[in-house]
């Protein structure tokens, strides 16, 4: 048990060090890309709490990201009673608004389980992009809302991309610690109890209603923060910025990361970002294998690559990267009992 704690702490320190130093070694544009990976990471942390730890499948967290993104957009463009809000301060507000939406969604979710829950949350992901189109006066329709470009505050002399990177990963590290403390504490134990057996949890006195909705609220808060950052980075929101497939990709990232492995979520985030945006690079790597000839410019190749890699990763690592890490480090952290 203690060994495990030390391992996780050192992993965190390594991560923090990498985060701080990485921009020195990569291009400015790459820093921006890594920032977006960070945003996915934040959203996946929330999803891990919900699905990995409390066992409730959600295929709708893209909608919570959208709520966060739109909150930021509306506050910074239209302002609050005419007063434009600085993009930075909208982040926590966006998280809270999304979190409240999550609590609301959590209520009917109490009655549903398993794949019924998954498909209803998927229904939310499907329905949400329609709302800005219907209420286009307030939400901007398909034209969307255009924000001011992100600028480093207090006149700091750094590039906009580096600013977004540090902002995102700063928040990500803080939220990682928060999630870690949460799952190790009383709430986390309640979540795990519910995940493993609801009936047993209830008979131990855990209030299903309270904890299950709380899990939704937390995961929505995280997604909202991620969405808010995404809106700031892109300086633009419209229904296509948070499409239906985003919710699916989040679950993909969750599975690749390894459901209840918080650190694994980094791998999940990296995978969904790079497969979407750098399928051409992956295609070129795969071309080195014999008998494969994938011209990245041909239509459909990016999807083919994404699909093949995804299937391969899931077949080879059914419990995700987190599961793999646990298997590798498991012997270190379990006491071996010998019987003579």
């Amino acid at each position: 048990m203690r060994t495990r704690l030390w391992l996780e702490l050192s992993a965190f320190v390594v991560l923090a060090a990498v985060v701080v130093l990485l921009p020195r070694f990569v291009s400015d544009f790459r820093a921006r890309e890594l920032a977006i990976v960070g945003m996915y990471f934040i959203a996946l942390l929330g999803l891990s709490v919900l699905t990995g730890f409390s066992g409730q499948i959600s295929l709708g967290n893209g909608a919570f990201m959208a709520i966060g993104g739109y909150t930021t957009a509306i506050l910074s463009v239209d302002g609050f009673y005419g007063h434009q809000v600085r993009d930075l301060w909208t982040i926590p507000i966006a998280g809270v608004v999304a979190g409240i939406a999550g609590l609301v969604v959590g209520l009917p979710a109490l009655r549903l389980s398993g794949l019924y829950l998954a498909l209803i949350t998927f229904g939310i992901a499907v329905s949400f992009p329609q709302l800005p189109k219907e209420f286009d006066h307030f939400l901007g329709g398909t034209t969307g809302k255009i924000l001011n470009l992100a600028k480093p505050p207090f006149g700091l002399s750094t590039t906009a991309n580096n600013w977004i990177y540090y902002l995102t990963w700063g928040i990500a590290l803080v939220l990682l610690v928060a999630a870690w403390l949460l799952v190790r504490g009383k709430t986390g134990r309640a979540f795990k109890a519910i995940r493993d057996s609801e009936v047993a949890a209830v008979s131990s006195g855990i209030s299903l209603g309270r904890y299950k909705t709380l899990a939704f609220g937390i995961s929505a808060f995280y997604a909202g923060v991620a969405g808010s950052l995404y809106a700031i980075a892109n300086a633009y929101v419209n229904p296509d910025v948070f499409p239906i497939i985003l919710s699916v990709y989040l679950v993909v990232g969750l599975a690749v990361g390894g459901l209840d492995s918080l650190f694994g979520m980094i791998a999940g985030a990296a995978l969904i970002y790079f497969l979407q945006n750098h399928a051409d690079t992956v295609a070129r790597w795969l071309n080195h294998l014999p008998a494969l000839s994938l011209d990245p410019q041909k239509p459909g190749i990016p999807s083919v690559v994404f699909g093949i890699v995804l299937i391969a990763v899931m077949v080879l690592l059914p419990t995700g990267v987190g599961g793999l890490v646990r298997r590798l480090f498991g012997p270190l952290t379990t006491r071996l009992y010998t019987r003579s």
């Binding site: 992009p129 034209t143 969307g144 470009l149 700063g170 296509d240 910025v241 990016p302």
Partner: protein, 403 residues
């Protein structure tokens, strides 16, 4: 908590920051000009991405003939899958990583709207936008680095409206339109063209692009007993509309908007419904026998064959490639006009003082013309009618310059 995060981030950044210094004129060197686009190469609108392939072929042709005032053209086009979020990412990548001189002919109304502000803020030309949304030519005071190219949708709608007033007695008009700015732009233009006869519109129904089929909408429109149908629908929805009209046994005079009028699309709908349809056109349609012996079309095909990177025989008849070459021709002209001392400002000056005649890929007689306060390069079109499997133009050049 939040304050702590920000302070931590600031302290860390003080250690690590080293901002990039801007280059004199990015994308231009003594022997090269680097141009970039973001277009759909995958997804729903992938065929429209052929515009970029046409541009690419034309640039290679120009390079072989010595380039532009001694500089070769390098063209980078990225796939955005018609997704504005990816268009933003691509455009930022083009200006920051690829360091292009100008962003040119990016495709899609929402995509271009998404990047317009960031390009203008960065003072990068957003040239010859591949979208007919009226705002790109109209709102230059706020966005001086942006300029459109193809005839704006509001003008197109207005031309249809005027035609109906002039040529169709007792018209009762039904409109099927896509429920976003593109469809509504067309509808608004048409109402303007009808003027006092705006009451001729007996039914108008919008559809959402997430629909799977527009038959219910067409059924509703038919019930209004209209004798004219405006199809302001995109791609497959336009196809489905023709299908539905045919299946319901309805025979209105159909007007189909330019974006959905590609010959390859018109050829696969029930011809009973398609025959007699009217649309507008500004380029020479390589699929039409009308231009079979035209020098401009022959030039287009020879360029595509030689530089088109494996163009198929179907591509040689694809109007999207021609549209791309037309735009590329205008850009090359603009670059020449901007002179040897090439800066982004001199480029915009050239683009807003343009008078181009003799573009081989557009209809004869069209003058591509801009002034700093009139930023719609192409406003002249001809009406065309579909019959016997091809489009044929009729009547003189018409224009309805948008306000």
């Amino acid at each position: 908590m939040r304050v702590f995060v920000v302070c931590a981030a600031v302290a860390v950044m003080a250690v690590a920051s080293a901002g990039a210094r801007p280059v004199a004129t990015p994308g231009v060197s003594s022997d090269e000009i680097h141009i970039g686009s973001s277009v759909p190469l995958s997804g729903e609108a992938a065929i429209a991405g052929n515009v970029a392939r046409g541009i690419d072929a034309y640039f290679k042709y120009v390079n072989d003939k010595g380039g532009v005032l001694g500089r070769k053209l390098t063209y980078t086009y990225l796939d955005d899958g018609y997704d504005p979020g990816r268009a933003v990412n691509n455009t930022i990548r083009l200006i920051q990583q690829e360091q292009v001189f100008a962003v040119f002919s990016s495709l899609g109304t929402n995509n271009n709207l998404a990047v317009r502000k960031l390009l203008n803020d960065a003072k990068v030309p957003q040239l010859y936008v591949s979208s007919g949304a009226t705002t790109f030519g109209r709102d230059y005071k706020k966005y001086p680095w942006t300029i459109g190219y193809i005839p704006p949708y509001s003008e197109e709608g207005e031309i249809y409206g005027r035609y109906v007033v002039k040529n169709i007695k007792k018209a009762k008009i039904a409109v099927l339109y896509q429920n976003d700015d593109y469809g509504r732009d067309l509808l608004a233009g048409m109402k303007r063209g009808l003027g006092k006869k705006a009451k001729s519109i007996v039914a108008s129904v919008g559809y959402d692009p997430t629909s799977s089929d527009v038959q219910p909408q067409v059924t509703q429109l038919k019930a209004s007993k209209a004798n004219v149908l405006m199809v302001f629908a995109f791609g497959k929805f336009s196809l489905q509309a023709f299908n539905a009209v045919s299946r319901l046994g309805w025979k209105p005079q159909i007007f189909v908007n330019d974006v959905s009028s590609a010959a390859s699309l018109m050829a696969i709908v029930p011809q009973k419904a398609a025959n007699g349809s009217i649309s507008i056109v500004f380029g020479k349609d390589p699929a039409s026998p009308q231009w079979a012996n035209d020098k401009g079309v022959k030039l287009f095909q020879s360029i595509l064959r030689k530089y088109g990177n494996g163009a198929s025989s179907r591509d040689l008849k694809d109007g999207y490639f021609t549209a791309g070459m037309a735009t590329a021709y205008t850009l090359v002209n603009t670059l020449k006009k901007a002179g040897k001392n090439l800066t982004r400002q001199s480029l915009m000056n050239a683009a807003t003082h343009l008078t181009e005649r003799g573009n081989p890929f557009v209809l004869p007689g069209i003058v591509i013309h801009t002034t700093p306060t009139s930023r719609f390069p192409i406003t002249q079109v001809r009406l065309q009618r579909w019959s016997k499997g091809a489009w044929r133009t009729f009547g003189p050049l018409v224009s309805a310059k948008p306000g």
